[in-house]
Amino acid sequence: MDLKLDHRTEDRLTIVEVEGEIDVYTAPRLRELLIDLVNKGNFHLLVNMEKVDFLDSTGLGVLVGGLKRVRAHDGSLELVCTQERILKIFRITGLTKVFGIYASVEEAKEAHGRDK
Protein backbone atom coordinates (compact mmCIF):
# COMPACT_ATOMS: atom_id res chain seq x y z
CA MET A 1 0.00 0.00 0.00
CA ASP A 2 1.20 3.48 -0.83
CA LEU A 3 1.29 6.36 1.62
CA LYS A 4 -1.67 8.69 2.08
CA LEU A 5 -1.17 11.96 3.92
CA ASP A 6 -3.67 14.52 5.13
CA HIS A 7 -3.65 17.28 7.72
CA ARG A 8 -5.96 19.66 9.53
CA THR A 9 -5.58 22.23 12.26
CA GLU A 10 -7.71 22.21 15.39
CA ASP A 11 -7.04 25.05 17.81
CA ARG A 12 -3.25 25.35 17.77
CA LEU A 13 -2.65 21.69 17.05
CA THR A 14 -1.98 20.41 13.53
CA ILE A 15 -3.10 16.82 13.14
CA VAL A 16 -1.29 14.84 10.42
CA GLU A 17 -3.17 11.74 9.30
CA VAL A 18 -0.88 9.04 7.89
CA GLU A 19 -2.13 5.90 6.16
CA GLY A 20 -0.14 3.09 4.54
CA GLU A 21 3.55 2.26 4.58
CA ILE A 22 6.35 4.59 5.69
CA ASP A 23 9.60 3.27 4.28
CA VAL A 24 12.65 4.35 2.29
CA TYR A 25 10.42 4.94 -0.76
CA THR A 26 7.56 6.87 0.83
CA ALA A 27 9.25 8.59 3.81
CA PRO A 28 10.48 11.58 1.72
CA ARG A 29 6.83 12.60 1.18
CA LEU A 30 6.19 12.66 4.93
CA ARG A 31 9.43 14.59 5.43
CA GLU A 32 8.34 17.19 2.86
CA LEU A 33 4.95 17.60 4.52
CA LEU A 34 6.44 18.05 8.00
CA ILE A 35 8.98 20.58 6.70
CA ASP A 36 6.24 22.45 4.85
CA LEU A 37 4.00 22.58 7.93
CA VAL A 38 6.82 23.92 10.10
CA ASN A 39 7.79 26.47 7.45
CA LYS A 40 4.19 27.69 7.48
CA GLY A 41 4.28 28.22 11.24
CA ASN A 42 2.70 25.00 12.49
CA PHE A 43 4.87 24.15 15.47
CA HIS A 44 2.58 21.79 17.38
CA LEU A 45 2.13 18.60 15.38
CA LEU A 46 0.25 15.43 16.20
CA VAL A 47 0.95 12.54 13.83
CA ASN A 48 -1.85 9.96 13.83
CA MET A 49 -0.30 6.59 12.98
CA GLU A 50 -3.30 4.39 13.64
CA LYS A 51 -3.62 3.55 9.93
CA VAL A 52 0.09 2.99 9.34
CA ASP A 53 0.72 -0.58 8.18
CA PHE A 54 4.49 -0.44 8.17
CA LEU A 55 7.17 1.83 9.63
CA ASP A 56 10.92 1.41 9.30
CA SER A 57 13.97 3.32 10.50
CA THR A 58 13.73 5.73 7.56
CA GLY A 59 10.29 6.75 8.85
CA LEU A 60 11.64 7.05 12.38
CA GLY A 61 14.37 9.32 11.05
CA VAL A 62 11.75 11.56 9.43
CA LEU A 63 9.76 11.80 12.67
CA VAL A 64 12.93 12.61 14.64
CA GLY A 65 13.82 15.23 12.03
CA GLY A 66 10.36 16.75 12.42
CA LEU A 67 10.73 16.76 16.18
CA LYS A 68 14.03 18.60 15.94
CA ARG A 69 12.46 21.19 13.65
CA VAL A 70 9.47 21.94 15.90
CA ARG A 71 11.64 21.99 19.02
CA ALA A 72 13.69 24.74 17.42
CA HIS A 73 10.48 26.80 17.64
CA ASP A 74 9.53 25.59 21.15
CA GLY A 75 6.97 23.35 19.49
CA SER A 76 6.00 19.70 19.86
CA LEU A 77 5.60 16.59 17.73
CA GLU A 78 3.59 13.83 19.31
CA LEU A 79 2.12 10.59 18.04
CA VAL A 80 -1.09 8.61 18.21
CA CYS A 81 -0.35 4.90 18.03
CA THR A 82 -1.74 1.78 19.66
CA GLN A 83 -0.48 -0.83 17.19
CA GLU A 84 1.96 -3.16 18.88
CA ARG A 85 3.97 -3.85 15.71
CA ILE A 86 4.58 -0.12 15.22
CA LEU A 87 5.22 0.58 18.91
CA LYS A 88 7.82 -2.19 18.95
CA ILE A 89 10.20 -0.31 16.67
CA PHE A 90 9.88 2.78 18.91
CA ARG A 91 10.76 0.62 21.92
CA ILE A 92 13.74 -1.06 20.19
CA THR A 93 15.24 2.32 19.39
CA GLY A 94 14.38 3.95 22.71
CA LEU A 95 12.17 6.53 21.00
CA THR A 96 9.26 5.88 23.37
CA LYS A 97 11.23 8.11 25.75
CA VAL A 98 11.41 10.91 23.20
CA PHE A 99 7.94 11.10 21.66
CA GLY A 100 4.72 11.60 23.52
CA ILE A 101 2.64 8.62 22.35
CA TYR A 102 -1.12 8.67 22.89
CA ALA A 103 -3.88 6.13 22.41
CA SER A 104 -6.19 8.49 20.52
CA VAL A 105 -6.35 11.94 18.95
CA GLU A 106 -8.78 13.01 21.67
CA GLU A 107 -6.42 11.92 24.43
CA ALA A 108 -3.54 13.80 22.78
CA LYS A 109 -5.67 16.93 22.35
CA GLU A 110 -6.66 16.85 26.01
CA ALA A 111 -3.02 16.51 27.07
CA HIS A 112 -2.00 19.29 24.68
CA GLY A 113 -4.76 21.53 26.09
CA ARG A 114 -3.53 20.94 29.62
CA ASP A 115 0.01 21.94 28.63
CA LYS A 116 -1.00 25.20 27.00
Binding site: D23, V24, G61, L67, L95
Partner: protein, 151 residues
Protein backbone atom coordinates in the same frame (compact mmCIF):
# COMPACT_ATOMS: atom_id res chain seq x y z
CA UNK B 1 17.25 -26.98 1.38
CA UNK B 2 15.01 -24.69 -0.67
CA UNK B 3 16.56 -21.44 -1.83
CA UNK B 4 15.14 -18.35 -3.50
CA UNK B 5 17.50 -15.70 -4.83
CA UNK B 6 16.57 -12.23 -5.94
CA UNK B 7 18.61 -9.35 -7.29
CA UNK B 8 17.26 -5.84 -7.64
CA UNK B 9 18.44 -2.39 -8.72
CA UNK B 10 19.23 0.09 -5.96
CA UNK B 11 15.85 1.82 -6.10
CA UNK B 12 13.79 2.54 -2.96
CA UNK B 13 10.62 1.28 -4.68
CA UNK B 14 12.10 -2.23 -4.92
CA UNK B 15 12.58 -2.54 -1.17
CA UNK B 16 8.86 -3.12 -0.72
CA UNK B 17 8.97 -5.91 -3.30
CA UNK B 18 11.87 -7.54 -1.44
CA UNK B 19 9.90 -7.30 1.83
CA UNK B 20 6.85 -8.91 0.28
CA UNK B 21 8.86 -11.76 -1.28
CA UNK B 22 10.74 -12.42 1.98
CA UNK B 23 7.51 -12.47 4.01
CA UNK B 24 5.84 -14.84 1.54
CA UNK B 25 8.80 -17.25 1.57
CA UNK B 26 9.04 -17.04 5.38
CA UNK B 27 5.38 -17.98 5.71
CA UNK B 28 5.81 -20.85 3.26
CA UNK B 29 8.92 -22.05 5.10
CA UNK B 30 6.94 -22.33 8.33
CA UNK B 31 7.98 -19.22 10.26
CA UNK B 32 5.35 -18.53 12.92
CA UNK B 33 2.76 -15.90 12.02
CA UNK B 34 3.77 -13.91 15.11
CA UNK B 35 7.30 -13.52 13.71
CA UNK B 36 6.37 -12.48 10.17
CA UNK B 37 6.20 -8.78 11.03
CA UNK B 38 9.74 -9.02 12.41
CA UNK B 39 10.94 -10.75 9.24
CA UNK B 40 9.28 -8.11 7.09
CA UNK B 41 10.79 -5.22 9.04
CA UNK B 42 14.29 -6.71 9.40
CA UNK B 43 14.53 -7.62 5.70
CA UNK B 44 13.22 -4.17 4.78
CA UNK B 45 15.84 -2.53 7.00
CA UNK B 46 18.67 -4.58 5.49
CA UNK B 47 17.51 -3.82 1.94
CA UNK B 48 16.96 -0.10 2.67
CA UNK B 49 20.47 0.15 4.07
CA UNK B 50 21.88 -1.56 0.99
CA UNK B 51 19.88 0.70 -1.37
CA UNK B 52 21.10 3.85 0.40
CA UNK B 53 24.70 2.62 0.31
CA UNK B 54 24.49 1.73 -3.39
CA UNK B 55 22.92 5.06 -4.29
CA UNK B 56 25.90 6.77 -2.68
CA UNK B 57 28.66 4.57 -4.02
CA UNK B 58 27.57 2.31 -6.88
CA UNK B 59 24.02 3.02 -8.14
CA UNK B 60 24.43 0.74 -11.17
CA UNK B 61 25.23 -2.37 -9.13
CA UNK B 62 22.42 -4.72 -8.09
CA UNK B 63 21.66 -5.83 -4.52
CA UNK B 64 21.32 -9.55 -3.85
CA UNK B 65 18.99 -11.25 -1.41
CA UNK B 66 19.05 -14.95 -0.70
CA UNK B 67 16.25 -16.71 1.20
CA UNK B 68 16.95 -20.21 2.48
CA UNK B 69 15.11 -22.90 4.33
CA UNK B 70 18.04 -24.36 6.21
CA UNK B 71 17.68 -27.13 8.82
CA UNK B 72 14.61 -25.78 10.53
CA UNK B 73 15.57 -22.12 10.18
CA UNK B 74 14.57 -19.48 7.69
CA UNK B 75 17.73 -17.65 6.71
CA UNK B 76 17.95 -14.37 4.81
CA UNK B 77 21.19 -12.91 3.47
CA UNK B 78 21.31 -9.43 1.96
CA UNK B 79 24.55 -8.69 0.11
CA UNK B 80 25.59 -5.31 -1.24
CA UNK B 81 28.63 -4.05 -3.13
CA UNK B 82 29.17 -0.73 -1.35
CA UNK B 83 31.65 0.41 1.34
CA UNK B 84 30.38 0.01 4.89
CA UNK B 85 30.58 3.67 6.04
CA UNK B 86 27.46 3.50 8.19
CA UNK B 87 28.58 0.49 10.19
CA UNK B 88 31.28 2.56 11.84
CA UNK B 89 28.51 4.65 13.38
CA UNK B 90 27.01 1.68 15.19
CA UNK B 91 28.62 0.65 18.43
CA UNK B 92 25.70 -1.20 19.96
CA UNK B 93 21.99 -1.82 19.73
CA UNK B 94 21.48 0.54 22.66
CA UNK B 95 18.51 2.58 21.51
CA UNK B 96 19.01 5.34 24.04
CA UNK B 97 22.47 6.09 22.73
CA UNK B 98 21.09 6.19 19.20
CA UNK B 99 18.38 8.60 20.27
CA UNK B 100 20.94 10.86 21.87
CA UNK B 101 22.90 10.84 18.64
CA UNK B 102 19.84 11.56 16.54
CA UNK B 103 18.70 14.46 18.67
CA UNK B 104 22.20 15.81 19.00
CA UNK B 105 24.68 16.62 16.33
CA UNK B 106 23.95 13.84 13.84
CA UNK B 107 21.10 14.84 11.52
CA UNK B 108 20.52 11.35 10.15
CA UNK B 109 21.59 8.22 12.01
CA UNK B 110 22.78 5.82 9.33
CA UNK B 111 23.32 2.94 11.74
CA UNK B 112 19.76 2.94 13.00
CA UNK B 113 18.64 0.28 10.53
CA UNK B 114 21.29 -2.16 11.75
CA UNK B 115 20.27 -1.50 15.36
CA UNK B 116 16.65 -2.24 14.47
CA UNK B 117 17.66 -5.50 12.77
CA UNK B 118 19.66 -6.50 15.84
CA UNK B 119 16.60 -5.87 17.97
CA UNK B 120 14.32 -7.91 15.71
CA UNK B 121 16.09 -10.93 14.29
CA UNK B 122 16.61 -14.05 16.34
CA UNK B 123 20.15 -14.40 14.99
CA UNK B 124 22.10 -11.71 13.10
CA UNK B 125 25.55 -11.54 11.58
CA UNK B 126 26.85 -8.39 9.88
CA UNK B 127 29.99 -9.00 7.81
CA UNK B 128 31.65 -5.93 6.32
CA UNK B 129 34.13 -6.89 3.61
CA UNK B 130 36.30 -5.19 1.02
CA UNK B 131 33.67 -5.68 -1.67
CA UNK B 132 30.56 -4.86 0.37
CA UNK B 133 28.48 -5.84 3.36
CA UNK B 134 26.67 -9.10 3.99
CA UNK B 135 23.84 -9.17 6.53
CA UNK B 136 22.67 -12.65 7.44
CA UNK B 137 19.71 -13.14 9.74
CA UNK B 138 17.56 -16.11 10.62
CA UNK B 139 14.41 -17.16 12.44
CA UNK B 140 13.08 -20.52 13.54
CA UNK B 141 10.88 -22.29 11.00
CA UNK B 142 8.70 -25.31 11.59
CA UNK B 143 10.09 -28.35 9.75
CA UNK B 144 7.66 -30.07 7.41
CA UNK B 145 7.85 -33.42 5.60
CA UNK B 146 8.48 -31.89 2.17
CA UNK B 147 10.61 -29.02 3.44
CA UNK B 148 7.87 -26.48 2.88
CA UNK B 149 5.06 -25.50 5.18
CA UNK B 150 1.49 -25.59 3.94
CA UNK B 151 0.31 -22.24 2.65
Amino acid sequence: MATVELTFSALPAHVRTARLVATAIARRTGVAEALLDEVRLAVGEACSRAVEAHRLHCPGEPIRIELKDDSGRFEVTVTDAAPSDDLKAVDSSDGYRLVDAMLGIVPEMPGLGIAVIAGLADDVEVSPGPTGVKIRMSWPAAPTPNGLAAV
